[in-house]
Subunit: 299 residues, 4 copies
């Protein structure tokens, strides 16, 4: 409780270019990249590296102040492609994004509101580095909540015998927004393989257990039955292999013998919202690099 205002705490995020890159590791890559950045006057504000001994792969993420570079992001991309990436080798995977370009997320929901309210609240206070473009629900339960936040809600029913068609409808809506993230915010429906493929690296799920424990349905019931002393949640990229995609973030909370399944469900919501919001934030800030079944998270 203080009498000071906190407006000074709301730093306007700086305009930055964000470079992420992965390639087979060898001597001189850091020098090549940082030499290029120095050459174009890039003032580095964040730089992270990871050299993976197991796979022999190198990863980096660097941010430079946009104003320090006397060119637009397109020109910088062309020059980086020609002067650096080409030289590092054909296996190189890289992206250069502009923090000033607005990003967008579409949320898929069912009946549980906690992740939805949490993300809408973050977007409302300008904390999420993206706009929530739309919410799609297989039930109407969350329609009113969504529209109160001035976000469009699309209802796509999922009849037991018409899931394929329903997913086609969802896909059409989602793709209409060309979102940077498709967030399964307790969606409770399993994405078909073609959508896992189409949205690879962009579709995030929150699973309500500490994976790989309690894959599949009713994880809190499974946790209760096993008598674990911690319950958790996992944010991961969606792949065709159920609950087995690359993990972005996980966390747990303590439970004990006095907690019923309903208590676990309630407490679990808090971990789910925290884990999903952190994972989504890192994804949108280009902090997550996927390699095989695993992620490198430069948080």
């Amino acid at each position: 409780m203080t009498s000071a205002t906190t407006t000074a705490d709301r730093a306007e995020p700086e305009h930055r270019y964000v470079l992420t890159l992965g390639c087979p590791d060898r001597t001189g890559i850091v020098a090549r990249i940082s030499g290029f950045l120095a050459e174009i006057g890039g003032w580095i504000t964040e730089a992270a590296y990871h050299s993976d001994a197991e796979t022999g792969w190198f990863f980096t993420r660097q941010t430079v102040r946009a104003e320090s570079v006397k060119m637009g992001v397109d020109e910088m991309r062309s020059r980086f492609a020609a002067e650096v990436a080409a030289e590092i080798g054909p296996e190189t995977e890289w992206r250069l994004t502009d923090s000033g370009a607005p990003k967008s997320a579409v949320l898929l929901v069912s009946r549980e509101s906690h992740c939805l309210v949490d993300l809408l609240g973050r977007a409302h206070r300008g904390e999420l580095p993206a706009t929530v473009s739309a919410v799609i629900g297989n039930h109407r339960d969350l329609e009113e909540l969504t529209t109160r936040f001035d976000v469009p809600f699309h209802h796509v029913p999922f009849p037991a015998q018409g899931k394929a068609a329903a997913f086609d409808a969802v896909a059409e809506i989602v793709d209409g927004y060309t979102p940077d993230a498709v967030v399964l915010a307790r969606f409770m429906q399993i994405l078909p393989p073609q959508l896992c493929e189409a949205w690879a690296g962009r579709a995030l799920n929150i699973h309500h257990s500490f994976l790989p424990s309690f894959v599949g349905a009713r994880p809190y019931h499974q946790a209760f039955a096993r008598g674990v002393k911690l319950i958790g949640a996992t944010c991961h990229y969606v792949t065709a292999d159920l609950d087995a995609g690359p993990i972005i973030e996980q966390d747990v909370i303590r439970v004990d013998h006095s907690d019923t399944v309903a208590d676990m469900v309630r407490q679990g919501r808090d971990i789910e919202t925290m884990v999903l919001s952190r994972g989504l934030r890192w994804h949108l800030e280009d902090r997550v690099l996927v390699h095989g079944r695993k992620t490198v998270v430069f948080s």
Copy 2:
């Protein structure tokens, strides 16, 4: 991601009577209380005891199924007073509440929305054991958000030279709702002593530091300057002694050298919402017994 619905997870809270009691410790108190409960047929669903060696005080909280007791809460209160409390002694402090009686909370806010949205979201999904009767803000920033959740918003400006009058206005509004909890949800104004007194044991504050570290203004700036490796939040009862009231709940998260004040402010919000919502829940469920400067929390 599962295809199972979770409606079964939404347990309807059972109708219960909740007894809390504190008194000087001596042999036989538990027997006296449990003897009474057994006599009236009370089926105990939760029972917690604490014997405080330092102060020689005894504390208990017990819940019984309302349907197991063949009487209303008023009759049970009269009988407990006559048959148990009187016998235990005059220093005994006790309450018997009915979980079926609706509880109410009034929130005092300023410009920061995170605790407000979090609590409104919990109330909306039926997770908070109380209705949010009203929100009072010293600015209009959060009016629209509040009214979207169909909760009345009262704007009471706090001019530098008119704080006493403003607090009178706040008090009149609050007292009109006779709330079970007055929640300073990042209110940023210091309650005057007469309101601390009037709302003793009902006014909860969330302080954005791990008290007793960083009392007062701008705690994240203080934390940044000191270079701590964890930041925290504290939910406490408001007393006339600034940030020194009995602590209900605290928690922390890890930060490091790369976190700016703005990063700490952002991450701190998540801890503030968690700590405040847990503290408020425990308060509303009569889980918090205050004794001197400290609390017993039967969580």
Copy 3:
């Protein structure tokens, strides 16, 4: 860094009788037990209850100051059996132990020293409520360390073709000490069913993962391959079902992409020692009640 001595911090544990009890739940059990304790003058210092809605079972643990009860533990046992347990019903399981009676633990080890040193250090400073009577190793690696702490070390080799005989030898040594706890402190050998049976409720294992994730061999390798963001450890009672016994305690620590398997192994040691020492302490203080596949831990 302070100039004050801390000898005042070393409280001599009070002489207490510890009652634990489990039985089918019904009205009046608490009253019956506390009535008995009051009758014999028992000053209750700790009391915990749990009513399990799922199984309909009731659990309690209570401690009374030995000096407040004007009888020895044997007499108190006889009276409790006749006056309380008999009345509560034949399914009642209960124990009454004397905190003044010395307890004993035998540790089974292999080559990893961290849990051994941790437990010997705790025993040395009087923190563990038991004596470490002996250490049995299937290798001689930890013999010197053990004997430096004046604890006898028994070497029992486990040749690939002679494990049954080796376990017979281990059992004979263990049973010679009639220990209150048989601790598999990273023993790396699977107990045969007859020993699981013989030591049921007394044999504790530390598994180096957050069960039920990563059952079996090389859990840190499994965790590394899956790319989890937290690693953990689990202390559980040993049963014939590998790594599936009732869980006593679990905890986790954060890892990231930069952690190799060796880093996980190193960091995991700290969690293993913490989790095992907490679990063992609770077991020795009669805080753990087993019911089916789960535990009630009155910590």
Copy 4:
């Protein structure tokens, strides 16, 4: 519990050169350093950067495989000084260390054994990247424990009227070992300013509270009196300003109303050992860069 051996988990630490550097931030520093490393063939295994917006200072830590660099550490130092550091500017502070050169730590203790046993155990299993050269105690309580680990113990009494002379004796012993770390492992004596100065950046203390809460004597008593819900420990560099040196690491554990001071002391030991051992490890691995009152920890 597994039957697999874990010898494969014990990775032999690779021979590396570790560069740490701090200087005023400007464009091109990363390029200059990485250019140099590439030029001499340096295979970078770890690289971390931090650009501090508040102080305008730049920090980096990089490790290269010693075998990839075709020169000794002395030659590399000379070349780096001439070709890089000189160019970056006169305010540059840097070190280049050889992970193959053995490091040494001296521990100062009093009567509490937990940090001592923990560190001796880590050194014994080869986990600590240093030898414990000696232990100095102001009491003889820990002499036997120390010598059992084959580490020399020096007893220096601290009479109330002769502390200055005692510190002279301690300093002489310590300096005889030229240690890389002087660890106050619950030493309970306040270092005089001239030793803080002499050992600046090498003397580490573990304080048994979450600083800046509960500075000074008897922090667990202070924590108990305040009724905090978490207790902690802080590892920091020792400076002349009591308990106010740059913080390296902190952590906390949950306590509640049932915990006495003695319980807090006991649980606090576990946090103290964890925090001190992590802080010391990072210090010895040159992961901690001090700047003003704060640290950059490349953990």
